[in-house]
């Protein structure tokens, strides 16, 4: 009986260890609550596997050369009537090579009047800035522009 109990206790202990280790590993991998996503993962998370088309309707304004990567002005203009039936649902600003690809997700409503968003972002180095636009009919448009960064801003 003693031997049996001993083996049982070992089995229980190892089972407990097995359940604990994966969660401990996960916590190490994502120290900030799983907020950090690479560019491809971020696009997949936003679009959910839908096709994204490059469109001239999305006008992305970024500087060609940014002397300071800590402050890069980004402007997104989307051609849209902004009515209840046809409006810009969301504008996502992404960068291709930053540690965290996502910069801002902006959910718009017809009250906005125009599909417009502007902000200033940090860029770690020379890379593309991407604007992903979700329309109310569920389709995705994309515009991308390269930015040369002389001093990185994600130090």
């Amino acid at each position: 009986m003693e031997r049996r109990n001993f083996i049982k206790s070992i089995c229980a202990a190892s089972a407990v260890a097995a359940t604990i280790t994966p969660s401990a590993l996960l916590a190490k991998e994502a120290p900030k609550g799983g907020n950090i996503l690479s560019y491809d993962a971020a696009v997949a998370a936003i679009t959910g596997g839908k096709t994204v088309t490059d469109s001239s309707k999305v006008a992305l304004t970024v500087p060609e050369i940014a002397e300071n990567g800590a402050v890069v002005p980004v402007k997104v203009n989307v051609e849209s009537p902004m009515t209840d039936a046809d409006h810009v649902k969301a504008i996502h600003v992404l960068s291709t090579k930053n540690g965290n690809a996502r910069c801002a997700d902006v959910m718009l409503t017809p009250l906005n009047g125009k599909g417009y968003f502007a902000t200033r972002i940090k860029l770690a180095g020379t890379q593309d800035v991407v604007a992903l636009v979700e329309l109310s009919n569920g389709s995705f448009l994309r515009a991308a522009k390269p930015v040369k960064v002389t001093i990185g801003g994600c130090g």
């Binding site: 801002a104 718009l108 009250l111 125009k114 940090k122």
Partner: protein, 112 residues
Amino acid sequence: MAEARKSMIKFKPKKFNVGDTIKVDFIVIHPMETGTRKDKKTGNIKPAKYIDNITFLLDGKPFTTMKVWETVSTNPYFSVNLKVPGKGKITVDYTDNTGEKNTKSKKLKPKG
């Protein structure tokens, strides 16, 4: 603890009529710390502190909501458009990843 942050709402252009589409600019003084930088004096990593949720409200009704990450610059600036429906009050609510909540509002006074 919530501390009072310096923030500002600006309408562009300053004078506008009902039905015009104006820019609503929001600027806030915030460090937007990424959580990867080292303090040069102590050598410790500075903890992440960045604004992660912003809501633009018109008379208590949200018209734009944003999710933001640490990749937005220090002292962030956000600009969206608004088609002015009439008199009202613009409020901007924002929270950061440490749970700090703040709000800022400004009256919307169209001319005509």
